[in-house]
Amino acid sequence: MLLRQDIDTIKFLQKVKTCHDEVIFETTEGDRLNLTSTLSQYVFCSIAGHPDCWVNSTITCKDENDYQLLADFLSDEPEG
């Protein structure tokens, strides 16, 4: 699933914390961030202000049920 570009990153990370298993954020440049890790969350925040870094980036939930939790932040279709 694709991560929408117009999200509130703080609310998104708060939601990630409620997920049951790993949530992997992957950019088109190949960066993979396990968003359950503090360092990865910090990196995510650092690049959040640069939409060009994460346009069409994807979210992969290890637990299928977690997609439902993150539904407001995800999209099936590419943006822009």
Partner: protein
Amino acid sequence: MNIRKNLELFQELIRCGHELYLWSYSPGMDLIHTNCPDTEQSGDYIFMDDLVDHILEYSKTSRHPLVISTFLNLMWVAAFERNQGRLKSIQILGPMFSGANSQQKIREMLDKRQWSVHSKINVLKGLEKIPIIPSNLLWQYTFMLHYCVTGERITSKDLQYMTFPSKEEKPDGESIDKISDEHLGIWASEQEFLNLVRAGSADYRTALDKSSLLSSGIKATANDSLEMAKYNMVVLLTLVSRAAIEGGLSPAVSYNLQDYYSQRIIDAGSVSETSILCNTMLEDYVTRIQQAHNNMDISKTVQSCCDYVTTHITERFTIDFLAARAGYTEYYFSRKFKQEMGMSISEYIKQEKVKKAALMLSTTTMSIQDVSNELAFSSRSYFSDVFQKIMGESPGEYRKTHLKI
């Protein structure tokens, strides 16, 4: 006291020197206001979210500021505003590093994960914005923040520390930046501190705070700030253990304590932990020195007289006054003092004044006349005579060979 105005001024004053931000939280830790222009990218939220429960728990039992070390040795300071005993707001200053950002360490962490150059650059750019605040300056900002919200003056012994490692790894340290090449006044304040340790005086904390304002420790670059904090602690431990022996603690006990605390320093995992350990170590040594003094064959009366002389060394004493203070006649107290101390009261007073004079001569540029006046000698020539008899050389000669500014 207008707390809001205090905080506004405090924020502006801090910003004159550092890009350090104030975050105002409600009693439920909801962010009310911050002067940080980039709240999302600052990442502050990540750490605050994990710290909420701990900060709130702490606020129930303590009114003093909390110094918090987290992942990457990022630090925050929390101060608590209360209204009639009820928590009204939590003011948090940060984030900051306690020493120079060891970007090499962070680069290594990023390299291990093989992220793109683009992402790494963005992270490092963000980290570069975080100010480096030496520990002595951090204390001062903490005292000021606490004063802004409470009107209460505190010292370093009132601070509490908390360390929060991240989920995946303990925080790394970073090197401490040189803040100054000046060492002016440090020798004098160190000696003052060590003299108080030798005496087993509880005032050592005040002297240590004063010394800390002049210097944040060894002026060298280590791999990270934790390593630097450990080096500084080892130096302090060595000085204190020798001062303890001079103060009457048995060498066996002092060296055993040194071994024990050396191991604990090696094992310390964060800068905050070394600070807590430092307080424990000093308190342990000084308490034992006090006990050693109590065990000596010197009565409390005579000990009290000696303590009084030490803490009022710039005054002029009469034996009559000291005896009356102890509740004895002059004749009886003079004999008692000589029996226990091995010298007369006036010899003891001269000895202590000359010790202080030697310190002033070797650590300041005060004229010999001024030193004599400061220590209440009746004249410079009398002072010089007394000094020469006790030290074996004149004040001028002593200064030539011992000046350490």
